[in-house]
Symmetry: C2
Subunit: 306 residues, 2 copies
């Protein structure tokens, strides 16, 4: 595959950035990969693993001469970094990010960037419950969507080039309007995560059922929630603080539906429950048909003695 | 492995019963397996697949001379079947079931059984989102728990024999008090299922996000909910109608916690969110350590292009 950027600067070296480095190397997509992270420990681990060509001590140093800069830290940390690197960005460079919320990133980062760069915020819909520089792997983005949210005046050539990079890493790329992205993700990701966190917290807090019982019998449904609820706490705190409005809206709808089902249970309205459950089953079928999950029973866990 | 029962009658031939048949055959655990189901279509499919030695037209016929009878239909259908088979049960036979709620089964089935049989209700914590006679496979119970809830006067020999059968099918067997079972399962299974159903319903119902967007971007967390929410509607309707009290109690706790997190989002209380998410992450670790799930990222989905 052809080289797409000459020098890529990764700022933040967690799951996403380290996976990008592995994927760019595999595809020969970047001339040089320079990485940095705030924590000394993270930088040391990244150096040891060697997925960057160079690991440097500061964001300012990392962006020197880079034609692509990727902000890959929690959303709450983006504004100070944008302030720091703004004056050091190369002319014609593309700046992107991988944050799960986009309006907040646009507002935190955009104003601090010089006019001579292209800012194209992005969000790879990929991840695992693991985090940190050791958790990255080249296949993370394969067959997954990356959403770019360029503004209406964006440089179309810069957008096309960033698209080629993501495609080279295996992703399917879509563009979307910023606020619509945040609403769609509130439905498909943010609210489900909050609910999973809540359920796991409730289970742990219940006095009459012991922790060991919860863990022992988790296979009955609960453990899928625990996987979701094992995701990085800092990242998720920042998601909820920065996608407040859309998350609260969807939560409101969720509570309304939940109360209706709760009432059906209390009053013994079996038809309501049956109809609701039949309807949701059809949605699953749509996801399988769209190729967004495997139809293998129980995620293919069956048969593997874990 | 040694034969444990001479003749096993399976009443209901869905995922659980068909998996039991496959597993009993694999282990040589039953002399003869006789099956029946209410629906002609199900009986025909079962005959075609051939996981039973005989498929018969009625429960009465199925239980003739059986030393083990397994009630494997939705909970709401159990009482009439118990009434029907009661007079035809062989002396010394063991009657068990595979329902997800146990107090309701004890009350629906127990009074209709003669004194000369042993009634040992049970619940295999195993399943997939698929249902019906075609969905069964011999490995379903491997490394999963089956909970038996014999009453205090139960015949210990009969309990030991049924335990050996489940162990022969690969399960780990535990006994538990009836009501405690229902509470534990309300936490680890019933409430998580209701919540997943609710979230999937909300996503589908939202006007400003299209169905195709929900499906397309489901990989970000939502699709794990859809898998749970694809389970058999009849079975789950009966679970909620029959484990009303415990489910409503856990739902009450859930709503309370959810409101607290919602408030933290609204007021921007990042510390509350961070602490909560850090705590729930530790619970996931417990589940991995207890061998109840794989630590492979994203359930091992990664790399398999589904």
């Amino acid at each position: 595959m052809a080289r797409i950027y000459e020098r890529v600067a990764l700022i933040g070296l967690g799951l996403i950035a380290s996976s990008m480095a592995h994927a760019m190397r595999r595809g020969g997509l970047a001339g040089e990969i320079v990485g940095t992270a705030r924590s000394v420990e993270t930088r040391e681990i990244a150096s040891e693993i060697g997925f960057c060509d160079r690991v440097v001590d500061s964001a300012t140093e990392a962006v020197q001469g880079a034609d692509l800069v990727v902000l890959a830290m929690p959303i709450g940390a983006m504004e100070p970094v944008a302030l720091e690197i703004g004056p050091h960005l190369a002319k014609g460079a593309t700046i992107t990010d991988v944050g799960s919320v986009k309006r907040a990133v646009v507002e935190a980062v955009g104003p601090h960037l010089p006019d001579h760069v292209d800012f194209i915020p992005g969000h790879p819909l990929a991840g695992t419950e693991h985090s940190g520089p050791r958790s990255g792997f080249a296949e993370l983005f394969e067959n997954r969507f990356t959403i770019l949210v360029p503004d209406e005046n964006a440089n179309t050539e810069a957008v096309a080039r960033l698209t080629r990079l993501w495609e080279g890493m295996g992703a399917k790329v879509e563009t979307m309007e910023v606020d619509h992205h945040d609403l769609v993700l509130a439905v498909t990701s943010h609210t489900p995560h909050l609910i999973a966190y809540t359920m796991v917290g409730v289970a742990d807090d219940l006095r009459r059922v012991t922790d060991s019982e919860v863990i022992k019998y988790s296979a009955a449904g609960f453990r899928d929630f625990t996987r979701i609820a094992a995701s990085d706490p800092t990242m998720w705190r920042d998601v909820f603080l920065n996608n407040k409005e859309a998350t609260l809206e969807i939560l409101g709808r969720f509570t309304e539906e939940l109360f209706a089902l709760q009432r059906a249970i209390r009053t013994g309205d079996g038809d309501h429950l049956f109809d609701y459950f039949t309807h949701t089953r059809a949605i699953r079928r749509g996801i399988i048909e769209a190729g967004q999950d495997t139809d293998a029973p129980d995620f293919g866990r069956i048969g593997k003695k874990s």
